[in-house]
């Protein structure tokens, strides 16, 4: 199933000192990182600086358009929704759910996936067979179909969503960690470590994991993007974190009926999601170039 990842020999292991010098190709990556950090900080500190409460209904401002359009209502810079709630506040507050899910899912799934993948690669035998078979089956199966069934049955909440997503997202980490561990096992330094009597957890933590981290960081970034998309998709289907908590997917879904009269209600959350995902993907691409020792 994994024929598309081109086999490339792991080169010299990471050189200890590699000087970081900015190049022209770095600009999009750094810009994306800055936007993301700003967005995350803004979302998690929203309670302290966003002037309007995201739940307050200002009925005079119902369907008010964003700044620069006719009938603009002062104070609602991105307009207001069908209940007169301020869209800017809801976007910023909605980021909390997206970023919480994206970051925690990718991190938890990374921990599980790397542990399983390294174990599979290092131990081999039936352990490897079981783990990698699970990876195969899960890769092929449509996650969203399971997720909507499970979330609908168990009931949507932040915790359910994170658990369901983690149970699916560990797979790419495990696959890559497994492949890289097999490569590390072929190296001289690994054999040397075995020869001087290193075994078990010690050798895995000291010698295997540090050498497979760079590509896994890249996977981690892309999995954040996937987590955010999946959370938004569930919210869009009405299976996300329930109201009154604002979520981007939920805002888009609720505003769907206003495409012809008040386009800003669905389109602004849509643009926000896209912008965030583009930034994460650009960052991921950049990291994969920078962290790849071959490319330097």
């Amino acid at each position: 199933m994994t024929a598309f990842e081109a086999p490339r020999p792991l080169p010299e292991m990471l050189p200890a000192e590699r000087r970081f010098r900015l190049r022209r190709g770095d600009i999009p990556g750094i810009l994306a990182a800055l936007i993301l950090v700003a967005g995350i900080v803004a979302a998690f500190t929203a309670d302290w600086w966003v002037p309007q409460d995201p739940g307050v209904q200002d009925l005079y401002a119902r369907l008010a358009p964003p700044w620069g359009f006719d009938d603009y209502q002062p104070g609602h810079i991105l307009g207001a929704d069908e209940l007169g709630r301020d869209i800017f506040s809801r976007i910023v507050h909605g980021g909390k759910v997206s970023f919480t899910v994206g970051l925690s899912v990718a991190t938890l799934a990374g921990g599980i996936g790397i542990t399983l993948g390294v174990t599979a690669g290092y131990r081999g035998g039936w352990i490897e067979a079981v783990i990698m078979r699970l990876v195969d089956v899960q890769t092929a199966f449509p996650f969203l179909v399971i997720a909507i069934s499970v979330v609908a049955i168990v009931g949507p909440s932040l915790r359910t969503i994170i658990i369901v997503l983690v149970l699916w997202q560990w797979v790419p980490f495990a696959r890559l960690a497994h492949a890289k561990t097999l490569t590390v096992k072929q190296t001289e330094f690994f054999r040397a470590a075995v020869a001087i009597g290193r075994r078990g957890l010690g050798i895995a933590v000291r010698h295997v994991v540090p050498n497979i981290i760079p590509p896994l960081v890249v996977v981690w970034t892309f999995q954040i993007a996937r987590g955010i998309i999946q959370e938004a998709s569930l919210s869009f289907l009405g299976l996300g974190v329930p109201p009154p908590t604002p979520t981007w997917g939920g805002m888009l879904s609720a505003g769907r009926g206003y495409l012809d009269t008040a386009w800003w209600i669905p389109l602004i959350p849509g643009i926000t999601i896209t912008l965030v995902i583009v930034c994460v993907n650009v960052l991921g691409d950049w990291l994969s170039k920078r962290l790849d020792p071959r490319a330097i």
Binding site: A6, V137, A140, F141, S233, N281
Partner: protein, 310 residues
């Protein structure tokens, strides 16, 4: 090759069984379907009657035994909403879903191959840059966001296409384009990456030196060697693709399995959810089977039983 196929079939049984069991227990653990069917006004006697009719008052292992027995006869019970067999409802929606899926894959390959080849053969040009940005964007826009944008631009503002349901070929365009983007972006990157490695090989230089036109070298010979990883990627991305199809169907009210299931999930119509998960599971494994067969078709070395080189 035969061993691979047997393996796949075994996997088919396992996946289908595992999923059905999972859904069975989740439903039984999470509350009382009788309350959902009866509605808020049902009296305790009515609820009891419903439970007896559906066998919900039996011990869980009896219910499970009956469930497994039914499963082998593809019997998932009647839909709570439509009062007709759930499996028939799901299978009735299958053609629409398959139509949308094949259209989307067609659109994806139609765009990904020329763009990917341009990026590979002319690195550093505007075509290359455009292809890369196109790929990044295609990978980044979630299906439901793109769907809403397309509806806004081409449906509401320009009025070119219908945005709702399946009403002939004109209504196919927006959903097919929406569903195609993610797979298109992934295939584009793959074609670009593999073709540029392929271009460094000797046979490309030889053919050019012999005076063959570049387009012929690229599209007849280089592309052929890229097909195996392309098929491989289709298999790997199948899960994501089906998820995208569910969302796309929901956005465009497309009368397929995905929209049926989303509706069933909100209405707690469990027979349909079970039948839907089962049918999709079987389909996914079957498609993977076809993918495995395609390898042998595309690359004769694999037909002889040789292992695919990873």
């Amino acid at each position: 090759m035969r061993r691979v196929l047997l393996n796949r079939l075994w996997q088919l049984v396992l996946v289908a069984l595992g999923l059905s069991v999972l859904i069975f227990f989740l439903i039984r653990l999470s509350g009382d379907p009788a309350g959902v069917i009866g509605g808020p006004d049902a009296t305790p006697e009515m609820l009891q009657a419903i439970r007896e009719r559906l066998g919900l008052d039996d011990p869980i292992y009896v219910q499970f035994g009956r469930f497994v027995a039914d499963l082998f006869q593809l019997e998932f019970g009647d839909s709570f909403q439509y009062r007709s067999p759930a499996i028939d409802l799901v299978l009735g929606r299958l053609p629409a879903s398959l139509l949308l899926a094949s259209l989307a894959i067609g659109v994806a390959l139609f765009l990904a191959i020329p763009l990917g080849m341009t990026a590979a053969t002319r690195p550093g040009t505007w075509g290359d840059r455009f292809a890369r940005w196109f790929a990044t964007l295609g990978q980044s826009v979630p299906h439901f966001v793109l769907g809403i944008f397309l509806i806004f631009i081409f449906g509401v503002q320009l009025g070119w296409f219908p945005t709702f349901g399946n009403e002939g070929p004109r209504s196919w365009i927006l959903p097919a384009v929406t569903l195609s983007t993610f797979i298109m972006a992934r295939q584009l990157r793959l074609v670009q990456a593999y073709a540029s490695e392929e271009l460094t090989l000797g046979y490309v230089k030889t053919m050019k030196a012999l005076g063959y036109r570049s387009s012929r070298v690229y599209y007849r010979h280089v592309l052929r060697n890229v097909t195996v990883p392309m098929i491989s990627l289709l298999g790997i991305e199948l899960g994501t693709f089906v998820g995208g199809a569910v969302i796309t169907e929901a956005v465009f009210s497309w009368p397929g399995i995905g929209r049926l299931m989303v509706g069933a999930v909100t209405a707690r119509d469990y027979p349909i959810v079970q039948a839907g998960v089962f049918v999709i599971g079987v389909l996914v494994v079957l498609i993977n089977l076809v993918v495995d067969l395609l390898y042998g078709f595309v690359d004769p070395r694999l037909r002889a039983g040789g292992e695919r080189t990873e």
